[in-house]
């Protein structure tokens, strides 16, 4: 398959949006399939807050964020936090020891500092550290938001880029948004104030494609096709698959089209899905796509295919053609 799938970091400089087979993964010499990856917390005295008095007390929060990914049954993600390394004030870049530390110069609350090396003709991940700004470190115990942020950054360390957000009326942090699409992926810049340890189906799917559990992929199928606007490809638009096999929808998964408007949705459980397309909903989460050539189509309307597609295990349901329409109000107009 040449079309892109989920949002992974690419192992090849020639591909902006790789399929799972071409995604950037951890070097086997550092974190091979089936092995354990061990994190440490830097022994920084800045780990203080109203209730936290030292790095030992943030271990439970780190463990909880790592466990959110480790508990995915369809993925092979074995990692843990071993404790505090008092010899470290912060992380050493590229030492192959993933570290959580306080970065007083961090402009944002947190980020994933991924180190990739060019080995045997592809980029592979050899280290990943997660710094927290002082105000984030001081808020871990009092605002659950920062645990969500840790989970998000650990997802980047797995090799996941930003997912797309689902179409909905944004009501802010305080209302619990689900509906047919389910909660937004934690790897998106959306609303994900749901069950802390239950990632969205889209998060679980992406991480499972990166590090699949044994024989999981044998049971899945895929849908592939192309989105066009008139005779032109609809570049970098979102395609969602809403599962409806059980009659009631719940928990969509998503992908993007490439420059040619082609898409593939991999790792789908067998069953029926309603396909939905639309442009990026959170533009600021996809800066690298906005800078691509051709640029993404952002003024198309959202739409749904009214005949569901059927996915069977071990097969790719190819040939879906979706015609989009440029009817959305100007995305870049001043308010």
């Amino acid at each position: 398959m040449d079309a892109p799938g989920y949002r992974f970091f690419t192992a090849s400089p020639d591909t902006l949006l790789p399929v799972a087979a071409d995604a950037q993964r951890w070097a086997k010499s550092v974190w091979a399939p089936g092995e354990m990856l061990t994190w440490v917390v830097a022994g920084d005295p800045r780990w203080t807050s109203r209730l936290i008095d030292g790095p030992d007390e943030i271990i439970p929060f780190v463990a909880q964020a790592l466990a959110a990914w480790a508990e995915i049954e369809t993925a092979d993600i074995r990692w843990k936090v071993s404790g505090v390394d008092t010899s470290l004030d912060d992380a050493e870049t590229g030492d192959g020891r993933p570290t959580i530390f306080v970065d007083p110069e961090a402009e944002r609350g947190s980020y994933a500092r991924i180190v990739a090396d060019w080995i045997a003709g592809e980029w592979v991940i050899t280290d990943c550290d997660v710094p927290l700004s002082p105000f984030a470190a001081a808020s871990l115990d009092s605002d659950i938001w920062w645990t969500y942020v840790l989970i998000h950054e650990f997802g980047h360390c797995l090799g996941l880029d930003h997912a797309g957000t689902f179409p909905r009326v944004d009501e802010g942090r305080d209302l619990h948004l689900r509906g047919a699409f389910g909660i937004d992926p934690l790897m998106s810049y959306g609303n994900y104030y749901g069950d802390l340890v239950s990632l969205a189906p889209d998060d679980r799917l992406g991480s499972s494609l990166l590090r699949p559990a044994a024989r999981w992929r044998d049971s899945t199928g895929a849908v592939a096709g192309v989105v066009t606007i008139g005779d032109d490809p609809a570049a970098f638009v979102q395609v969602f698959a809403i599962p409806v096999s059980g009659g009631i929808a719940g928990g969509a998964v998503g992908s993007f089209t490439n420059e040619e408007g082609e898409f593939v949705l991999e790792g789908l459980d067998p069953g029926r899905y309603v396909l939905w397309t639309g442009p990026l909903n959170t533009l600021h989460a996809h800066g690298h796509l906005l800078a691509a050539s051709p640029p993404p189509v952002i003024d198309a309307t959202d739409q749904a295919l009214l005949l569901p597609v059927t996915v069977t295990s071990g097969a790719v349901m190819d040939g879906t053609r979706i015609g989009a329409h440029r009817s959305r109000p100007e995305r870049l107009a001043n308010p």
């Binding site: 009326v169 509906g179 810049y189 929808a249 309307t301 739409q303 749904a304 295919l305 009214l306 009817s327």
Partner: protein, 285 residues
């Protein structure tokens, strides 16, 4: 004690020692004549004809026609007699249904019974969120005959929806308060789609609204995103079609018209629109 009755009069004799039953009977028959006699009002004459609708109520879908049967029994008619049927709109309007052939001719005769029938057409319209609409049918007798007429026939007209594409039919519910009620309203759209080919695409033409995330570097500082929630989506499968029940929710403080367009061969590009008042199919200019 003995008693006998003659037409129009009751007489009772009183045996020595017998209770005053006869006198009580006399009083019970609404008084007695000064001479001890009584009158009993004659029973009403039987109706010359009895007419009734076949048992209802009647349920009919917009765009369809139902046959309505009427049964009659003639006791005695010296000459043929005619009655008609009128419509009584309740929540339906007079424009929602019409009758044809609703004149019932009863033949003259004695001891005759029979049936007649006419048609009720439930008229289709461009609205598709009306829900069941009700009315009734009532007999309108011609004069000069003592007739017993049956009760009104209750009629319920089911919204037949609209078909912006040949393979697609849509019905919607009336708007209801969502959850929380002070923020949302919602409707459920039922879309029936015939299997075959790729099927139509449902485009959300409106509403969209601006969303302002934090400005990061040179990235655009505003999106316009689809301003609805898909609260629920259910799919059921029948022999040759699938049916979607899609619950669409919007904010009621910034309510905008919901506009949907459908794309496939032979689809009406004008689509449908739902305001706060109604959902209707647009007509192409």
């Amino acid at each position: 004690m003995g008693a006998w009755r003659r037409a129009g009069r009751v007489q009772a004799t009183r045996a020595p020692g017998a209770p005053v039953i006869g006198l009580l009977v006399c009083l019970g028959l609404a008084g007695c004549g000064g001479d001890g006699s009584t009158t009993v009002p004659a029973p009403p004459p039987p109706p010359a004809v009895t007419v009734a609708f076949e048992p209802g109520p009647l349920d009919v879908r917009e765009g369809e026609t139902a046959e309505i049967r009427v049964a009659y029994q003639v006791h005695t008619l010296d000459a043929p007699w005619t009655l008609t049927v009128s419509t009584l709109p309740v929540t339906a309007s007079a424009a929602d249904f019409e009758l044809s052939g609703a004149t019932i001719d009863i033949p003259a005769g004695q001891g005759v019974s029979g049936e007649s029938s006419f048609e009720l057409a439930a008229l289709a319209d461009s609205q598709f969120d009306e829900g069941p609409e009700t009315g009734a049918l009532r007999f309108v007798p011609g004069g000069g005959v003592n007739a017993r007429l049956g009760a009104d026939l209750q009629v319920s007209i089911q919204d037949g929806g609209v078909a912006p594409c040949p393979a697609l039919n849509i019905v919607a519910t009336r708007p209801e308060r969502g959850e929380p009620a002070n923020i949302y309203i919602h409707r459920t759209f039922t879309l029936q789609v015939m299997e075959g080919g790729q099927g139509p695409v449902m485009e959300f033409v409106a509403p969209y609204r601006k969303v302002f995330p934090d400005l990061i570097g040179d990235l655009p500082n505003s999106n316009t995103n689809l301003a609805i929630n898909i609260e629920a989506w259910e799919l059921t499968t029948a022999a040759q079609h699938v049916e979607h029940a899609v619950d669409i929710q919007m904010r009621n403080d910034t309510f905008r018209d919901l506009e949907l367009a459908f794309h496939a061969a032979e689809c009406d590009a004008a689509g449908v629109v739902c305001t706060t008042e109604e959902c209707s199919m647009r007509t192409a200019n």
